[in-house]
């Protein structure tokens, strides 16, 4: 379908990765001092940071749920995150992403433990090079665990795509623009379930099956990176009181 050549004969992508290879992952926890919990997650040069506040009093009051906590999630892209400046105002796209991220997180949080409260999750994309919603979910999951919010598990997310007839893991810039298919998924490891699955483009049933399995492998790597980040937050605090 696409004219641009994104994968060469040896199956090497534009940035030198193999089809089932991910960009370099950088994950950190506790990077913001003012938030109750915070996380940083990067796939190569797609960078997301997240800050979590609460559980706290619900504002405005009428949104309050007497039986469970509500999650407020705001995804936003920094004006300097892309080639062309993005307006900092909420757009159709960012509202949609805020919603899907919220739903993915809600499925693992014990909301009933804090009735009449609200958990705020603010996600900022510092640099965008495709798969921003995946990085956003990963950063937000780290931030939530860091804030001490009771969760069933972390959520890990990665995207898969199809370019020039090849299935690829962790879609990046050009592949997103010129590729045929883009599927972001979020995975809930303990239950072995997906909590986010979106797709644009067309795949056969067999290709879809393969794509999902590819995503699963990616999510497991992300999950390990997230856990490592949270552990490091407490283990690397040097113990010298000066």
């Amino acid at each position: 379908m696409s004219e641009v050549k994104l994968i060469d004969e040896r199956g090497i992508r534009l940035d030198g990765r193999r089809c089932d290879e991910m960009r370099e992952i950088v994950a950190k926890a506790g990077i913001l001092k003012q938030a109750n919990g915070s996380g940083y997650f990067a796939f190569g040069n797609t960078v997301a940071i997240a800050g979590v506040f609460g559980p706290k009093e619900v504002i405005p009051k009428h949104l309050e749920d007497p039986e469970r906590a509500i999650v407020r999630c705001v995804y936003s892209m920094a004006p300097f995150s892309t080639k062309e400046r993005v307006s900092p105002a909420p757009s159709r796209r960012s509202i949609e992403i805020s919603m899907v991220v919220r739903k993915a997180l809600e499925s693992v949080v014990f909301l009933e433990e804090y009735p009449k409260t609200m958990i705020e999750v603010y996600i900022e994309i510092l640099e965008a090079n495709a798969s921003t919603r995946c990085a956003a979910i990963n950063a937000a999951a780290i931030a939530m665990a860091d804030a001490g919010i009771p969760m069933r598990d972390l959520v890990s997310s990665v995207s898969v795509g199809k370019v020039n007839g090849h299935l690829i893991l962790d879609v990046s810039g050009k592949e997103d623009e010129e590729g045929d298919v883009d599927i972001p998924v979020a995975y809930y490891p303990r239950k072995n379930k997906f909590v986010l699955l979106q797709m644009d483009g067309v795949l056969t049933e067999e290709e879809f099956e393969r794509a999902i399995n590819l995503a699963l492998e990616g999510c497991k790597k992300v999950y390990e990176a997230q856990k490592k980040a949270l552990r490091q937050r407490y283990e690397e605090v040097e113990f010298e009181i000066k």
Partner: protein
Amino acid sequence: MSEISQESQIKEYERIASERKLVLPGDVLGEGRAGQGTYIDQGVVVAKVLGLAETRGNMHFVIPLNGIYSPRRGDNVIGIIKEIVMSRWIVDINSPYPAILSLSESLNTFVDLTKTDLTRYYDFGDVIFARVLSVTKSKLVQLTMKDRRCRKLIGGRLIKITPTKVPRVIGKNGSMVEMIKRKTGCSIVVGQNGVVWIRGANSDLAAEVIYKIERYAHKVGLTNKIEEYLDRKLKERSARGGSE
């Protein structure tokens, strides 16, 4: 009763801190019963918060390292008067749920509300040390002042720390907080909701070390290190005071 449970809680914390087994949400703790900070999934006990894991008998627990204050009956808390409505005060206790202090739970005398303004007893912004009388399922929190230790806290400064680290600030049988009080000469009151009230000349230093304790709460041998640090700082301070 509550003091005994608090003491045992502190001992627990010390012991767990020495083992230092850090777990994350979703980590499997093994088979058995699910205690605080855990849940059962597919027949095994799983951690639900980031914290230090502990097993007692076949019961698994996780002591969280971060999180907000969730009021429980019998807790001693420090609150700030936020609002006065009819015959009760609404108190901010550093939790998502505001607490209610009713007239009958704070005073022993009869008050004629038509003639007396309630600000005479507790005014807006007043700081009180109170006990949690009850918490309902819908998180309606009631406070009481009818306890020997409950009183209005006058003057001083307030600092907020992570509520889960309060036992560490108090220390074994209150050893940590007593040590800070003795060395700095400050009056210190620690609320289980993570609010600490400090009054005295060296209150800045006391606040500083409390923040340090919060930061290193999951480490062992903290009391000694804090003591050394305080000694050093106080020495510097008196040396500086002497030269001026």
